[in-house]
Symmetry: C2
Subunit: 314 residues, 2 copies
């Protein structure tokens, strides 16, 4: 390894798994994980950052790997009682998970930035790597659908992605700044690689790219930029990526992912199942790197992290 | 019964039991329960109203009668996780109880008054009687001790009443107004009785009396005013009343209670164990009414409520 710094961009579940692999492989001081905050929202007065929480729970080993989201050994007593008190029930708040939202909300109201809050909460749970929100300003993903413009969590959780999506927007992005940690990582002289984790390109990565200056900086970066495809064999490994790509007019395959990131990456990691698509990716001027990209175990995460870093040459 | 209205003033546990008895005996439209908010405070950003919660939990049947506070079938998952996240542990927040604080905090921040929030939360739990905070303004009980001036919850929960109390103050009381419901109940033409529930006179009832106009109004009221002694046979039934009365120079007996409420009540209900003290009370110009005042069962609460209403002649 080169000793140079690695910047990982990620959203929730799939991205968090690779982030955990990178954190297992790299010394903490060599890794910056920048996380989507476009999914953030307020629910019963609590500041909720779903992707940050997923990354924090995944890296701390607290996540519920069976249910696929939230904290293991979760219970739902507060949720049931909130229902009795007439509060909305469409977004699930587990008792253990609630602690995170309560602590975050409290500290934000006391004047800390989301970056500061995230750093201290992650440190409390023993995470050494830097987990950084993409911005400390409010940016909110909106999905324009046939049923109107929906807040992301409404679309994703309450409506379970049923409305047909026509476009996606990131309210507040133009007025927002990349967080200090994100800006600093992009500006590092020893930046050795940017890894775009296998998260939804439209919902989880585009919010980061929509922040002022980020797309331009990525496009002009000398360091290798490697994305890991969240699409394997024409299907999303997790979540609504495939349905959404179809509705937005993209081809649901690794070539569609390559086109989406065109100009921003040098290499696309694709699964062995998509080996036949490599020439089409290379025809776009990108290197196609084949590796097992489905992460079922911790060993899978570590192996994919190592393959990604090897592709980037760090 | 006369059909006239009953105004009950109360604090936490002991007072809440009599309030529950009154609610069981009186039609909802004839009862107003005004509750101390001097114990209210913010903890990890949540607005907590301990006495209101105790009254709400007691009247809704949710309270934990074994532990003596909070909600039955409680769990502590959020609390444990808050501890891992570095939040303070000295004030216990159960998972079911948290729902109340989250909902209250949310609604207060949305602009509802504490009166409105309390009314809607109590109604959600099926409570018909009016439970009304003494004020919608911030009033905070402070205990001046040999260790300095302590916020009430610090004194009561964190310090477990160990510091020697020298005086008690109610910060904000002079600038506060009685809540609309409290003011309206005091002004009712059909007010048939005021019942001071067996709560701590210094910590739970004095805050209500410290609000502008309340003491004068009570002192001049034509309707019968009956207090139920929280002291039985020289001991507090619950909580720090006895220790506090000693430290503040009061005699820890029903005569001490009678002196404390002198000029504000017509009758003091005392337990059968204190029958011998009746002449000393009557020497102060108050009627002493003897009844079983220790409430172990629901039947005890109902019986004491009936005895109190009978004494008041409503």
């Amino acid at each position: 390894m080169s000793g140079r710094h690695v910047l990982a961009l990620c959203g929730g579940v799939g991205g968090a798994k690779l982030a955990a692999g990178l954190a297992a492989v790299l010394p903490a001081e060599r890794l910056t994980i920048v996380v989507n905050t476009g999914d953030d929202f307020e629910h019963v007065g609590l500041a909720i950052s779903p992707d940050i929480d997923t990354v924090v729970y995944t890296l701390s080993g607290l996540s519920d790997t069976v249910r696929g989201w939230g904290v293991a050994d979760e219970s739902w007593q507060a949720m049931a009682q909130l229902g009795r008190l007439g509060e909305p029930q469409w977004f699930q708040l587990g008792d253990r998970d609630l602690a995170m939202h309560i602590a975050r909300t409290h500290r934000l109201r006391e004047g800390e930035t989301l970056s500061q809050v995230t750093a201290s909460l992650a440190a409390s749970l023993g995470i050494a790597a830097a987990i950084i929100p993409m911005t400390d300003d409010p940016v909110r993903t909106k999905v324009e659908t046939d049923d109107g413009v929906l807040d992301f969590q409404r679309y994703f959780v309450a409506e379970q992605c049923r409305p047909v999506a026509r476009a996606i927007g990131f309210a507040g992005a133009l007025e927002a700044q990349p967080s200090p940690g994100f800006a600093a990582a992009l500006a590092r002289e020893d930046l050795g690689a940017v890894i775009i984790c296998p998260s939804n390109p439209y919902l989880s990565i585009d919010p980061l790219l929509s922040l002022p200056g980020v797309r331009q900086r990525l496009a002009s970066l000398a360091a290798p930029r490697v994305a890991v495809s969240p699409i394997v064999a024409g299907q999303a490994i997790k979540g609504p990526t495939a349905k959404l790509m179809t509705e937005l007019g993209a081809s649901v395959d690794v070539v569609g992912v390559a086109r989406h990131y065109h100009g921003l990456i040098d290499q696309l990691m694709i699964d062995e199942a998509d080996r036949a698509e490599a020439p089409a990716i290379e025809a776009l001027g990108l290197a196609a790197v084949v590796a097992p990209t489905i992460m079922r175990s911790h060993a899978d995460r570590v192996a994919l992290a190592e393959a990604t870093l090897a592709a980037a040459g760090v």
